[in-house]
Every structure is written in structure tokens, then in C-alpha cells.
Symmetry: D2
Subunit: 216 residues, 4 copies
């Protein structure tokens, strides 16, 4: 049973990198996460969670990775292995289908969209903390991809910034099963305040929706 | 063979949490890391690396965790599981032996000592980035404890802040072998620029010491 | 008339640099601010405001400048003119009377004390934002010294971090009258949400004190 | 005579807010800064400085304010007076001429363009620090608009982040003469490392251009 309550006015869903390249058939990275995505029921869980969050009147925030552009990283003093991979794959290329939102998870009216992040943490070098402050958010539920990279770094930063942090073990995926295990059983328990399933999060949401005057 | 050169003027060793509670017989956490510390040769490696770094004239920076004080965390809106554990154990208690530096790794003249960090990252809520900037540091070698918590968060932050990041797989430890595996084989390769052994780092250091006028 | 309400649970008083060197007869910098401090009634206003804030059950946060230590700044790549001045004067020297709290404004039980700041902003390179987040603070009232340096930088940062910011024009001082004018009439109105007098702030505070269980 | 050297490899020009609304005849804010812009020779100085910086092979970084979009700020818990003004004027509106680059100062190949900033500081809630780190920048020369708001906050942040900071007193403007005086004679000297004229900066630049292999 989840112990945490998620107050409507102080909770946000952080949806990290809902791009076609990650979440859609034909996406550049989708085949590499598909085994685990299928196993945990990722797409269905994201749809149910997204729907329940919106029905509860809770703020949705899209937390997007930098969309690759020609020249990216090439003149940097030092890019890391993930960035080298993006340079080779052109992941989330700006102006291409892979860098567009998965159609089920595109931002809707009232959603916030943070600056694109260059690395793994949606907070680093972006306005995400600022946008959350302007809404009085204190609790973040972090979902999307990948469990041990962008989700984990965003969640580690959220903790350091003073937020209450929830991970959702079946609303994310990774390249391997042991990466999922590392994210949720080894590392997550050292920094996250709660690690739940989609069903458990939905059960913990407030049951009546807030006034629509703000989100419309 | 390491590909990275470590320029004397732009490299720093970040030594995270060199407290008795972590590194000394009788320390509160030492028994829990001792199996892996012994296996990788942690203490000897830290001594050799520390010596080689200083002989090369490279900047040493101590990156200390918050020393526990009475009242810590108790009135916070939400502390995380690691902080709950610290509240119970009184880890690194200020004014007690456990919160003193391991005698081999106490700061020496010319070392920098960052603000104490509340969470896992030595950069979060501290002056570490600022101190490194004032020395023109671009490369950080991150050692100390624990591999998958403070070391990993400090290294993830260093990458997001634009530093070149090196992990040293036998100059750290963790509670379990699979946590070491997660830190160095699953997660580290996604954000760190180089993951080496102590011997490899020492081999890559510049061979002649810089002018002593600064460090003395 | 102040338009702003200061909710007890989400407001904090940020008291910047309440050192003897700034606020006490015999302090190193006090003679330079005394003309304006006397003119605005600084000490009396700080006492009244501090008392009213505590009576209202509002969180007090001490925001201290780096206490000078031998060697400070000397090996930095570039210190600024204020830091050069501190090197010469040994302002707020650690272990000396000038670096001790003014006796009326020393931290009391339940107060927070942020990390010391190296520059002008109490948020830069410190844990101030984090401490405020752990208390759910959204409104900050910034008082202390100097109006156009540490107070202004702390207040500019608070705005960028998403806080509601109040300046108090007679609970601060500066070296010259035109610096006060710049802080409150030229610059403050571009970033602060409210610029009040001590009397106006006190009139806007909640009238009944919160439960004492937290602050005791 | 300027004492500062500006090494080609570690210096960047930060050009803040080069929008038509600020710098072009017909811009929404231009009429309000025109008296001082004309007096100091702003446009000519910016052109000469920009040309000399590029001829010297020094990195140019565009530091843009948030372009106004419908809905901006309206649902925030608290916007500040400057943001209220932008809501009313639609300053730098996205998709309109006022929010386009002044034609002489649009980004060129090899320039960096930071995330748009919501407040006054080009560093707050953006990737500016990160981009500078990836180029090894240690010295920033901050020009553009307005002297006492975005330029001053960007420069105050740069100092807190550990950069060497230069202000250029005739490569900026403000609404009033006393705001210019506050920026350059009252406040700037407390945080900036150097306050020069355009002619003095140009005289201090390195005289031969760097290899073009990086910037092309």
C-alpha cells in the first residue's frame, strides 16, 4: 500500500522524453527497449497513468531531451558516450518524425513543456525547477525513459532540489532487465521517497478533479 | 589503455566523504562496505592514488557529506530513505570520531574543502562547482564512497555541469557486488567519459610536478 | 497599503549577514553604513521586524557571508573588487568578534542557517534554496546588508528561482544614499514583487501564531 | 588602460537580447532606450565590438529573453513587474518581427544560442553555463540590454558562477541616465572584474585570429 498522498495542488507528473524514437514502432531506440516495454506493459501503463493524472486535475510537465541537430556536440570539449551515440543515430532529430511527440503523449492545453535537456537530468540546464516553483509543486512522479539514465538522473536531481520523488517501476523501461533492477531495487531506494506501480499510483491519486479554471 | 590525458592545470581529484565512519575500523558504516572494500583493495588504492595525484601537482578537493547534528531532517517536509538511515545511525556525527576525516585522507595545505552536501551529489547545494571554476578545472576524477550513491550522483552532476568525468572502479566500494556492477558496468558508461582502475589513472597522470608556489 | 499576504506556512524571513562587522559599534564596516543605518532606523527596524516575524510563527533563515579565513581568495583565478576588499579588511573574520552574530540577531532554536556564500547572493553555491524547499517556502522577505550588493543579489536570485520576493527599504542600508535609491527605486521595482517599509510588512503579517510544535 | 587580457580560447562575448523590439526603429521598447542608446552610440559600438570579437576568433554567445507567447505568466503563482509589463506589451513576441533578431546581430555559423531566459539573468534556468563549460570559457564580456536588468543580473550570476566578468559601459543602454550610473558606477564595481568602454575592450583583444577549423 502506498503511504504517500499526492495533493492535487502540489503534485506534478514529469513525463520524460515522450518521443516517437523511444515509444513508437519504427522509432530508432524503440526496438532496443521493446522487450522490457512489452514485459512491463509500458505503453498501456503510460496511457492509464496519464489519463488518471489528468482526470485528477494534476499538472502534467513534459521533460524533453535535446532534439538532435546537425553539428550537435561535435565542437564540444568532451561529449559523453550517450551523446556520442546520439550523434551517430541522430536520435530525436529535430524536424523528423522520431523527434516528434508520440501522438498519445503530445502536450495538451495547460501542460508545461520544459527546456530541452542536453544530458540525462531534466532539471540540469533547464527551467524545470522554475516552472514547478511557479505552480507550487512539491511532489513529482517521474515516468518515461530510460529508467537508469534520464529517469534516474531527473529523479536524483529532484531529490537534491528538495522535491518528494516517486518512481513508477512499470511506467518506464530500459535496455536490459538488470538495468531495471538497478534503477528500482538498488539505486532508487537510496534517493526516491516512493517506488510504486502504475496501479498503486492511480490508487493514491485524489479522487475528485480540481476546478478547471486554471488548466483550461 | 586509458585514452584520456589529465592536464595538471585543469584536473582535480574529488574525494567524497573520507570519514572514519566510512573508511576506518570501528566506523559505523565500514562493516557494511568492508567485504567489497577488501576485495577491490580500497584503502591501498586510495592511498596510492592520493599520493600520485599530489606528486603530480594535481588539485585535491574534499567533498564531504553533511555531518549529522541533533535535529537534522526531523522537521523537513520529506526526507528520503538514506536520510532516515542517517537519522537513526547518526552517521558522520559532528564532533564525534566517526565524523572526523580518516587520518590518511584529511585535507592538506592547498586542498579545497567544499560545503557539506545534504543528499548524494557533492555539487548539489554546495560551492563545489564554484571552487573548481576558480581553479580552471575541466576534468574531475571522482573517488570515495559509495559507488552507486554519492559517487554516482556527484559524477552525474559533474557531467551535466560540463566536466570531463572519470570513475575509478577500485577506488570506491558499495554494500553489494551488484551495486558495484550497476555503478561501473550499467550506469557509469552512460554518463562518465572514462572508467578506469587506480593503476590506469596513475599511468595517465602527468609525470612531472607543477611549480609548488601555488600548492604550498 | 501592501497587497501581499504572507502566509505563515509559506513565508520566510531571509536575514542576510547579521555580523558584528556590519551591525555593531566597533565593527569593521559599520562606520561606513552608520549614516544611512541611523537615517532609516536600521537596528530598531530589524529588531521590530525580527520580533514580529517570530511572534507570527514565520520561519527565520540566517544567510551568512563567507567568514574570512587566512588564504581566502588568494589563489583564485580571479577575485572581484568586493573580495579584494575583504582580503584587505578581513571582514567577518572567522574566530573573531567581527565574524560573530550581532547579539540581537543570533540564530535561535528552529531557525535555519544556510551555507556561507562566497559572493553576493545567498542562494549562489549554498543550500538556501534546498532548505526553503524543505519547508515549503514560496515567499521570502529579504533584509540585512548591503541593499545594493548582497540583498539585491539574493533578491534577484530568489525571483529567478521562482519565489515571491519582498524588499524592506528601511531594514537594510548601504554606503551612500544613491545606492539605496538604486536598490529600491531603480532596480528593485524590476524584479521584486513588493517593496515595503518595516511597518507595512508587520501590518501584513498573519496575526495569530502557528502551532509551536515545529519551531520549538 | 585595461589591465585584463582576453585569451582567445577562454573568452566569450555574451550578447543579451539582440531583438528588434530592443534595438530597431519600430521596436516596442526601442523608443524608451533611444535617448541613451543615441548618447552612448549603442548600435555603432555593438557593431564594432561584434566585428572585432569575431575577427579575433572569440566565441559569440546569444543570450535571448523568453519570447512572449499567448498565456505566458498568466497562470503563474507570482509574476514580477517586468513580466507584467511583458504580458501587456507582448515584448519579443514569438513569430513577430519584434521577437526576431536585429539583422546585424543574428547568430552566425559557430555562434552558440542559449535557452531563452524567463527573468533577467541569462544563466538562470538555462544552459548558458553548460555551453560555456563545453568551450572552456573563463572570461565573459556582457553586452546588450538593459544595463540594470538583464545585463546586470547576467553579470552578477557570471561572477557567482566563477567567471571573470567585464561590463562595457557604452555597449548597453537603459531607460534613464541614473540607471546607467547605478549599473556602472554604483553596482558594477562591486561584482564585475572590469568595466570598460568599447574602444578599451577592442584594444585588449588578441590581435591575430585563431584557427578557423573550429568555428567553421
Amino acid at each position: 500500500m502506498p503511504e504517500t498522498a499526492y495533493p492535487r495542488e502540489t503534485t506534478a507528473l514529469l513525463f520524460v522524453d515522450p518521443y516517437n524514437d523511444f515509444l513508437s514502432e519504427g522509432g530508432k531506440i524503440y526496438p532496443r527497449i521493446k522487450p522490457i516495454a512489452d514485459e512491463v506493459g509500458l505503453l498501456d501503463n503510460l496511457r492509464q497513468l496519464d489519463g488518471a493524472i489528468r482526470a485528477a486535475g494534476i499538472q502534467v510537465v513534459i521533460v524533453p531531451h535535446r532534439r538532435w541537430e546537425p553539428g550537435d556536440y561535435e565542437t564540444w570539449d568532451h561529449f559523453n558516450p550517450s551523446q556520442r551515440s546520439i550523434m551517430q543515430r541522430h536520435s530525436f532529430a529535430r524536424g523528423e518524425w522520431g523527434g516528434e511527440w508520440h501522438p498519445d503523449f503530445a502536450p495538451k492545453l495547460g501542460d508545461l513543456v520544459a527546456h530541452e535537456h542536453w544530458g540525462q537530468s531534466g532539471f540540469a540546464n533547464t527551467d524545470l525547477d522554475f516552472l514547478l516553483k511557479q505552480k507550487g509543486i512539491a511532489h513529482v512522479i517521474v515516468v518515461g525513459l530510460l529508467a537508469n539514465t534520464c529517469i534516474e538522473s531527473t529523479a536524483r536531481y529532484a531529490m537534491e532540489l528538495g522535491y518528494h520523488v516517486t518512481l513508477v517501476r512499470d511506467a518506464t523501461a530500459a535496455l536490459t532487465q538488470e538495468m531495471m533492477h538497478a534503477a528500482h531495487d538498488l539505486n532508487g531506494p537510496t534517493f526516491a521517497h516512493s517506488i510504486l506501480t502504475t496501479v498503486e499510483v492511480i490508487a493514491a491519486l485524489p479522487t475528485t478533479s480540481r476546478s478547471k479554471e486554471i488548466v483550461q
